[in-house]
Symmetry: C2
Subunit: 380 residues, 2 copies
């Protein structure tokens, strides 16, 4: 018997209610029944994004919404400030280049958060910058960027919008779109939303919609205006990923039932326990000063390959986590506590990490990780 545990930063485990919703006989999307489901999902998404704006839904991976955020708000030759502190920051630069937008890259050391003062300085030097792109949680490093402080800077610039990639963040860690004055917030289905991958989301402020009016980049499938026009009629421009939307309505029901505040508190508690456990094992966090509560990136000790940790956990302990990507490959492993994850998942994972590190010859007091986690989780 093999019982699998999934603690990767996407895809994340799916609750049984949602899995069963995915297995329902398919329904047609041009029907009042589907429109009722979509209407409910629209309301749930506004709650999740903490916004009065409509949240657009695309049948695509999160990258599709990232591309749409560029092509619907900017024009060829525009300048955009891109915070590059990980793999997903780099993706925004690549998308900009593909469409003739000039990325002004603000490099941030992997594992560090961006300094809002650096953004402010760049915006003063280059007032023609039309958009700032940043991750709320950078999945590849586990870093939490100071989005509210960045928003305070950008919202003072009438000619600049702030685009926040909240893919590994929305629904796990606080990101109140309207309160913080965020212009574009993106999300994907396979993270805190507890769904399979295949849906991407984008919400736009009034300011961002004004940018859409001026944007001249080519787009078709990811056309935000066309999608909004259909969404308000509980429809979509093209055939939607029906079963995933049915699952979305179900997962949003679970989210509203638990309540965002409780959900954020649960994520924070599991993240604290994970960080304490890894530190107790003598490991260093990859982002000690700016840890997101969505995913914890842990450095492997010298001489131990992070990819081996991932492989042993998977092959011997039936537990899937993620390794490092690109320049962090082999140097870190990443434990997610995002979505449908509870304390038993985390404790089992910490114990399996201990067994794995022991096998790889790392010296530590066996049980110290689980003990440190219990000390936090035991306090309710």
């Amino acid at each position: 018997m093999k019982k699998h545990f999934l603690l990767a930063p996407g895809p994340t485990p799916i609750p049984p209610e949602v899995l069963l919703a995915l297995a329902r006989p398919i329904i047609h999307h041009r029907t009042p029944f589907y429109e009722g489901i979509l209407q409910e999902a629209r309301e749930g998404l506004k709650y999740l994004f903490q916004t009065k704006s409509e949240v657009l839904i695309f049948a695509s991976s999160g990258t599709g919404a990232m591309e749409g955020a560029v092509t619907n708000t900017l024009s060829a030759g525009d300048k955009a400030l891109v915070v590059e502190g990980g793999k997903f920051g780099e993706r925004f630069s690549s998308i900009c280049r593909a469409y003739g937008v000039k990325p002004i890259v603000l490099p941030v050391e992997w594992g560090q958060a961006v300094d809002p003062a650096a953004i402010e300085k760049t915006l003063k030097e280059e007032p023609s910058i039309r958009a700032v792109f940043v991750q709320a949680t950078e999945t590849s490093t586990g870093v939490l960027h100071p989005v509210s402080q960045i928003a305070a800077v950008v919202s003072r610039c009438p000619g600049t919008i702030l685009v926040v990639d909240g893919i590994s963040h929305v629904g796990a860690v606080e990101l109140p779109m309207d309160e913080w004055k965020l212009d574009v917030v993106l999300c994907g289905s396979q993270k805190a939303l507890m769904l399979p991958p295949g849906l991407a989301f984008a919400a736009l402020s009034d300011k961002a919609w004004q940018f859409v009016e001026c944007s001249t980049l080519p787009r078709f499938y990811f056309d935000f205006k066309k999608e909004l026009k259909n969404l308000v009629k509980n429809q979509s421009a093209y055939t939607p990923a029906i079963s995933l939307v049915v699952g979305l309505a179900e997962s949003l029901r679970l989210i509203r039932k638990e309540g965002l505040e409780n959900i954020f508190a649960r994520h924070a508690r599991l993240a604290r326990a994970t960080r304490a456990a890894m530190t107790a094992l003598g490991l260093r966090l990859y982002a000690p000063q700016a840890c997101s509560d969505a995913v914890t990136a842990v450095m492997t000790p010298p001489g131990i390959d992070g990819q081996k940790v991932v492989k042993i956990l998977r092959d011997k302990h039936n537990l899937t986590i993620a390794g490092g990507q690109d320049r962090a490959k082999g140097r870190i492993f990443r434990l997610a506590h995002m979505g449908y994850i509870d304390q038993s998942d985390i404790l089992a994972c910490i114990a399996a990490v201990e067994m794995t590190l022991q096998e790889l010859g790392h010296k530590f007091e066996l049980g110290a990780g689980v003990k440190a986690a219990i000390e936090i989780l035991g306090h309710g």
Copy 2:
């Protein structure tokens, strides 16, 4: 108790084996287990498309693959010949315009098939045309376009490729990609593939891949080269729609078990029965000279609104079909016999259409439609 029947041209019913596959606990995509599933799906897709080429898989609606077919093979200022005989032909023109490609529209009356000689003539007059876009089955009219004859024309032009939208066609009606020398064939998951919407497919000939090398249109999410590079390693450039790919492997298993020849014969038989039944009810087919075996479009008698037929079937008989779109709205209804549909579905549908027409005051011999269908289906 309400038991629903779905006979729309997408989405189509999903077999229970596939529905249950969608409800399995989600797996991570960067694992050997997922890679094994994708490898199996790749082989199945080559069988389905009747090609040696790789079939690219995108997490998107079919329109995403249509956009990719334009942006990966053409450049701004290029000319493209677009067969416009329905809503989906028009979509290719819209995509071309969005990206600065000049569509040379070959208008075809709705309900008629394009004349290959007209394509040949246009290609002679405008030898700089880089691509010809056509639907194999035009979903909005039920027309089958003569793709093999068009391919015979286009394959003689070294500077022109043929892009075939096979979304409502592949896996229902013959379309041997390699044998007919088709350059790009597109498909979507929610038609003959018996899956929910959310996956799009694109296969390219060697000639089409050469066009990709010269194409300069911007693209990112729908980047064919990047996707191919990942696909041959059983991966994808971005997070794939995992549960749908797991379902795809399952549905392709069913398709290989039944065999393409048997599948085509089943669709042809059900389509013949549907056409005979509608004719026996005194109705006219919308595409009498060029009916696709994937979907039958039927004209409503004068004075009867096609939308009412759809509504009564849905509300009183729990049976979902499709009405007409755009200029055909109200004038036709469409019955699909695509994918997981058998003779009992078709007979139930014909009987329900009879009840509906009777209610709407159409004069015909009650039972004549079912009788005509039985006469065909009874012969095995």
